[in-house]
């Protein structure tokens, strides 16, 4: 039996599908048909999501938005609120 992975997915407004997986070590992986610029920023975003504490997860949209702005990243077809909702789901 492999390590436990919790998955969640949603079709966000605009029609994009976003999937989030949380490993037993807390590592977050994002997959889906969304757009993220620059594309190489995905690993950093996943690491940031993985690092959020339980308290921060309760209102994660703000920190995610700040991270995106600080990193010069842009999302299309996906909002910080969508990621925050998925994070709450996989960590609940």
């Amino acid at each position: 039996m492999g390590p436990r992975v919790i998955r969640a997915e949603r079709k966000v407004p605009g029609g994009k599908l976003v999937q989030m997986a949380a490993g037993s070590d807390g590592a977050i992986q994002l997959t889906g048909d969304f757009f993220l610029y620059p594309e190489d920023g995905l690993a950093g975003l996943e690491a940031f999501l993985s690092s959020l504490s339980d308290e921060e997860q309760d209102a994660a949209a703000g920190p995610i938005r700040e991270y995106m702005e600080r990193s010069g990243m842009r999302m299309l077809g996906l909002r910080p609120e969508d990621l925050a909702d998925l994070l709450a789901e996989v960590r609940s």
Partner: protein, 243 residues
């Protein structure tokens, strides 16, 4: 600004993506002018977005049916590229020509496809984020990347669709996002259904180039050799099964 139009070619999936990337590198180095190419796939191919899982695709079915599977360097969804059923475009240029607003640039480039459809007598509209629809249904999808100061958008225009094959290659979660119900469009859009591939191609050329200065030329030898190198990476399982 003088643009370059490359000849229409049909290539394997890895080579098609490698040519786009090789041209983007050459544009970044100012060794090539802004470039537009129209192309097809031989054999057919499934491409997946750079953030997608290969679980979106029936990998065994691809192998069984001789369909290439390639991960793109652009985001977006899984697409089945039928050898006869679509024309694919790429537009590659310095990013400054398209501005900072990503959504606006999708609208701008998709506007060229809409212009081409209008020339064929078909009314269509841009559907954000990255699609074009006719009668409320998707007929064209696209994906864009901006790396190293270079803008690249590639996209498809459907001519026909082998629905059975598409659904045998894409798993349901991907299929629901792709081009379902498009056969209804293709039967209802008489002009496109009756237009030959050459006529559609000519309309696309006019749609993309009528407002630009351009000249037809081939890939430079450096671009060709670089594309062959990059194609090896696109064929590599480490890249294809990255996620």
């Amino acid at each position: 600004m003088m643009w370059r139009l490359l000849p229409f070619t049909a290539e394997r999936g890895a080579m098609n993506m490698a040519i786009d990337e090789a041209v983007a590198e050459a544009v970044r180095l100012d060794a090539s002018p802004p470039t537009i190419r129209f192309y097809s796939w031989s054999p057919g191919a499934v491409t997946i977005g750079c953030f997608q899982s290969t679980e979106e695709v029936d990998v065994d079915a691809c192998a069984r049916l001789g369909v290439d599977l390639v991960r793109r360097r652009t985001g977006g969804g899984a697409v089945y590229h039928d050898p006869q059923g679509e024309i694919t475009y790429s537009i590659i240029a310095p990013e400054r020509l398209f501005g900072h607003d990503i959504q606006a640039s999708y609208r701008q480039v998709c506007g060229h496809v809409i212009d081409a459809l209008r020339l064929l007598g078909i009314g269509s509209r841009f559907r954000p984020v990255n699609d074009i629809e006719v009668g409320g249904r998707k007929i064209s999808g696209s994906a864009q990347t901006r790396r190293g100061g270079v803008f690249l958008q590639h996209g498809t225009l459907l001519l026909s669709l082998d629905t059975e094959r598409m659904f045998s290659l894409l798993r349901p979660s991907a299929a629901k996002l792709s081009n379902r119900n498009v056969n209804d469009i293709l039967t209802s859009v008489g002009s496109l259904a009756s237009a030959s591939r050459d006529e559609v191609l000519e309309a696309l050329r006019k749609g993309f180039l009528s407002s630009r200065e351009w000249g037809a030329s081939r890939l430079m030898s450096d671009e060709e050799s670089r594309a062959r190198e990059l194609a090896a990476r696109y064929r590599d399982d480490d890249w294809t099964f990255l996620r």
